[in-house]
Amino acid sequence: MDVRLTSEQQQLRDAAAKLADDLGPGAVGELDDGERVARLEKTVAATGWRSLRSDGASGVEVALVAEEFGRGLVDVPFLGPVLADDLGHGSATIVVGGLAPDARGLGRGVWLDGGSVSAADLGEARPGVDLTRWAAPVSGGATVVGEVDPQRAQALALVVTAADILGAARGAFDLACDYAKVREQYGKAIGAYQSIAHMLAESLVLIEGSISILRYAAWAVDEEEPGVAAEAARVAKVYCAKSAHTICETSIQVHGGIGNTWECAAHVYLRRVLVSTGLWPVSLKEISVGLS
């Protein structure tokens, strides 16, 4: 047993982090910067990471990129195309419940129906609750285009959304920590008060727990029996989603009044977390209890 990331996996994570830091929206105002988005799109396309699965990468690698892109609020498609690629359709994006949640610039959607893969054309993509990923409705008629192992595909979908959620939570947490060190009240940084410091300490514990459970679930996608992988993915998604929700709300609270304004990025992370939570949502009722 050795669950450390390999050096190749660390390099991939670092490269994804750097790309997100360099070209992601550094502030809310940059979400509307079309030139930046075009540069980001071109760079992400050049990495080939949207086709990680068909290139033979494991769930761990896909999750690492998804996490760093969530942390950096990367606002061009990744989650959608990488899951569509897992279903064998590299140039499409994923559809769930008749909507493609990550469809900016993409015209074709695929989804899983039992073990069958269906495809259809998409309507126009627009930003909605999530300001970083644009959703598009299915507009054309569906055709069955293939077959896959549904449990493994479902496990990957849960793992990738959980990774996106964890990454966004880390982004919201970093934002809050930076703010707590510079914002002063009563003559000292607010992070020096236990009431603030303890909330942030709790957020870090939630992040570390999320990293641990997600790593196992991401590995399990390809290495465990499909049923075990699916259960691990459900556990990871429930924990990451619940933790991230708390972490984002904490970030808004630590920012005080500013945290409730449009200009503070805390809500952008929260929106992304909640939208990803709602993609293939997992309820506690679906968790198997007392198996081992």
């Binding site: 450390r4 020096a192 410091a197 303890h198 300490a201």
Partner: protein, 360 residues
């Protein structure tokens, strides 16, 4: 990256599983029997070659990678056996801070379980603020004379030896006047007062009154004033769930609840939490392969473990309420996890101050 057992790990697991099957008829049947036979369990686990994974062979350890402790914990829980004795913090404390002579004299008996140990740190007036301790050790010839009052001393009533912190110098800053001693518990001048906890158990924690007890100066760990550094090592390791094997114990409770009662959100949430802790321990132990020695990160792990244990406690209440006395006591015991080994508030101070660099 591999979450599976290697061939060697699998062989160890299978050997342990077979041994536990043989031992199963002898497992304690009640809480009283568990406490009474704790020392015997420690000795048999060691004699069979399953205890002390990471410790040096010269002191009776196995010199194996840390993940072997996870295997032991998982298999003990699976078999319904008593847990692995919690000793890592004492062994690590002596391993890092004691001279070779004291290590050779004391570690083998500590590890093989023939000598029982307790830890005399906390006092009625020195809980979270440990450095305010007032127990004194005064040099008299080639011995120190101990006077003071210790509390929350685990297993003090059955201990042969005590790792004791006492003040040897009142005239220096308080952290610098503390020294550590290895004190024989079988002597005049030591009075035991058991503490009965809210779950009704009085075997675990005690109070110890030192009134003129004596310890040879040669049984001081390190030099005068080195006690604080040892204390920080010990409490750092005391916090690490990876050295405690609690994930497997919690899993056992969750499985017990699942057999007894219908599913609920509380039980499902406890299941999720236990899985998180289980994978978290695996990640932390794997990181130790890099030689990373956790400092303040131990507080993250302790806090996570506390939340997990208390969610299991709440699952007990949700599933069986007050109907099952043993399970109810499991709930009551869970309340102490956010206090012992450093309160959750102290852990958050450590995380915020030393990891997040807030000026708390």
């Amino acid at each position: 990256m591999d979450f599976r057992d290697s061939a060697a790990e699998l062989a160890f697991r299978q050997r342990l599983r077979a041994w536990l099957t043989e031992q199963a008829p002898n497992f304690p049947k009640s809480t009283e029997e568990y406490w009474a036979r704790q020392g015997e369990w420690h000795q048999s686990l060691h004699a069979a070659g399953f205890f002390g994974a990471t410790w040096p062979k010269e002191f009776g350890g196995l010199e194996l990678p840390p993940v072997y402790d996870v295997i032991v914990d998982e298999e003990l829980a699976r078999a319904g056996a008593p847990p692995r004795p919690s000793l890592g913090y004492l062994v690590t404390g002596l391993g890092r801070h004691a001279g070779k002579d004291l290590q050779q004299r004391f570690l083998p008996g500590m590890i093989d379980g023939t000598q029982r140990w307790c830890q005399g740190f906390s006092e009625p007036g020195a809980g979270s603020d440990l450095a305010s301790l007032t127990t004194t050790a005064t040099l008299d010839g080639d011995e120190y004379v101990i006077n003071g009052h210790k509390i929350w001393t685990s297993y003090s009533d059955v201990a042969d030896w005590c790792l004791l912190l006492a003040r040897t110098d009142k005239d220096v800053p308080r952290h610098k006047g503390i020294s550590a001693f290895l004190v024989n518990m079988h002597q005049a001048g030591i009075e035991q007062r058991p503490l009965k906890m809210i779950n009704g158990v009085s075997n675990e924690f005690g109070q110890v009154l030192f009134d003129g007890a004596r310890v040879p100066a040669s049984q001081m760990v390190g030099n005068p004033g080195d006690g604080w550094a040892l204390a920080m090592t010990v409490v750092g390791h005391e916090r690490e769930p990876s050295t405690l094997g609690y994930a497997a114990r919690y899993e056992k409770t969750v499985n017990q609840l699942a057999r007894k009662s219908a599913p609920s959100d509380e039980l499902a949430w406890a299941t999720v939490q236990v899985q998180v802790l289980r994978q978290h321990v695996r990640r932390r132990l794997s990181e130790q392969l890099d030689g990373i020695s956790h400092g303040p990160e131990g507080s993250i792990d302790k806090l996570l473990m506390t939340w997990v244990e208390q969610s299991v406690g709440h699952a007990v209440l949700a599933q069986t309420g007050t109907a099952d006395l043993d399970l109810f006591n499991t709930y009551l015991y869970s309340r102490s996890q956010s206090v012992m080994g450093g309160t959750s508030q102290i852990q958050k101070n450590i995380i915020a101050g030393r990891i997040l660099r807030m000026a708390v």
